[in-house]
Structure formats: structure tokens, C-alpha cells
């Protein structure tokens, strides 16, 4: 099988240019922040109204959605895949493992921008929100990531 024509800088540029409300979450965002980690996937949390625009933006990389926009909105998530994998959370509200309510609109309002390629910025959550997103699925590796994020946060000026 021929590999897809995926180029990371172009991928982020396509998302930025599409003006979708998309927040890079998960380990790929941690790597951008400075944590030396390994991951296969890209994880995004996007606004539920922007699914079609997001899919259209990344279609040039032959990334095909696992669900229609309506199905994705109903399920709260979907993924796009070829030899790359993009997990997309689309729920407007997600509860953490201890039932804290986290709304996309609030995380979007507090987002930070990070330059991931020359002139291309993507949104990532604030550190506090990042920690909350790591409490959604609550796997051992998420706990590890929180410990690292907390350590980083302890270094930030008060």
C-alpha cells in the first residue's frame, strides 16, 4: 500500500486556514509544549458545527471520516484515518472521570495558540483545561501526563 501524502505542516495549515474551531489536545499537543513522548494519533476537540469544514480541510490528505457529521454529533466523537489517525471529539460538553463538566466553548475561550509551523498557529488548551481533558478517559497514561503537566505548571510564574 502506498503511504498517504501527509505532511504535518500542511495538515496544520489546512486546519488553520479552514477557520474551524479546533483545539489540539492529547499527546501531540504535549509534544509541541516540550514533553518528549511518543504517539501515533492526532487528537482534536472541535466544535460540533464545524465537523464538515474540518473533514473538508483534511480531505486532501485522504483522511476519511468514520461517521457522518450527524452520527458524529450523536456519538460525540469520530476519527479520520488512512495510515495516519486523527481522533476527533465533537461533544459540546464532556464530563471528567469525577463528573466535572467541561464545555467546549469555555475551553475554546481560554485557548492558547502555539506556532507549529512557520506562520501556522493551532489552538491548544490552557494548562488547567489540558489537565481536565486528561481526566476524560482516565487511563494510567493520562494520570502520568497530568503529573507531568502539574510539574510544568509548578514552574510557571504565579
Amino acid at each position: 500500500m502506498e503511504p498517504s501524502r501527509f505532511e504535518e505542516g500542511e495538515f496544520f495549515a489546512a486546519i488553520t486556514t479552514s477557520a474551524t474551531r479546533a483545539i489540539l489536545i492529547g499527546r501531540r499537543a504535549l509534544i509541541a509544549l516540550g514533553f518528549p513522548l511518543l504517539t501515533r494519533d492526532y487528537d482534536f476537540w472541535i466544535h460540533g458545527d464545524d465537523i464538515a469544514a474540518f473533514n473538508k480541510a483534511v480531505a486532501i490528505f485522504e483522511l476519511f471520516p468514520s461517521r457522518s457529521p450527524d452520527e458524529a454529533r450523536s456519538a460525540g466523537r469520530y476519527f479520520l484515518e488512512n495510515d495516519e489517525k486523527v481522533d476527533v471529539l465533537v461533544a459540546r460538553v464532556v464530563f471528567t472521570v469525577d463528573r466535572v463538566r467541561v464545555a467546549f466553548d469555555d475551553v475554546w475561550a481560554r485557548r492558547r495558540m502555539i506556532e507549529v509551523s512557520r506562520g501556522i498557529e493551532v489552538a491548544i488548551p490552557s494548562l488547567d483545561d489540558f489537565i481536565l481533558t486528561k481526566r476524560f478517559v482516565a487511563r494510567p497514561k493520562d494520570a502520568e501526563d497530568i503529573r507531568m503537566l502539574e510539574t510544568l505548571r509548578s514552574q510557571e510564574p504565579k
Binding site: 505542516g9 504517539t39 501515533r40 472521570v97 463528573r99 514552574q155
Partner: protein
């Protein structure tokens, strides 16, 4: 001097077992116990030093993301997948 021992990758079954173990969902109590386990000064220092090293070696997010993609590709080539063992 003798050659260093050859690294043998784990079997696909072991990889799958580890994957299932690390991907399992924890209860709120288990998760908090994990998150709030006391952190030694050595662990804290190791985290900060590894971040400092990574940021010095790859000063921009773009360079860090590219380095992680290369590292993952290299790592994945050495890890057997479950479907390989069933075919073999």
C-alpha cells in the same frame, strides 16, 4: 570486548497485553490515587530535565513534532503487531 546482547522485541501477544493494561479506564478513585501519588524530588527533576533537554535539542514546536514523528516511526518498526503473529 564482546558484542552487546541483541534486543529481542516482545511477542505480539505481550505487546497487546501491555497495550490493554495501559489503555484501561480507571475509576475516579484509582485515577486520583495515581495522580496524587507522592512525587519524589528525583522524579520531579527528571521530568523538568527531560523537558529542558527536549526543548534545547528541538527549540521550536515544529521541530519537536517532527522529531516525535521520526521517533514514533522508528519505534513502531521494531514493535510486532498482533495481526503479524496470526499470519506467521
Amino acid at each position: 570486548m564482546s558484542a552487546p546482547p541483541r534486543w529481542n522485541p516482545p511477542s505480539p501477544e505481550v505487546v497487546e497485553r501491555i497495550r490493554r493494561f495501559t489503555e484501561r479506564r480507571l475509576s475516579a478513585e484509582e485515577f486520583d490515587a495515581y495522580v496524587h501519588a507522592p512525587m519524589s524530588e528525583a522524579e520531579r527533576r527528571e521530568i523538568l530535565e527531560s523537558v529542558a533537554w527536549f526543548k534545547k535539542r528541538y527549540p521550536t514546536p515544529e521541530a519537536r513534532l517532527a522529531a516525535a514523528r521520526r521517533a514514533y516511526k522508528q519505534w513502531a518498526q521494531g514493535i510486532p503487531r498482533a495481526h503479524q503473529s496470526r499470519k506467521e
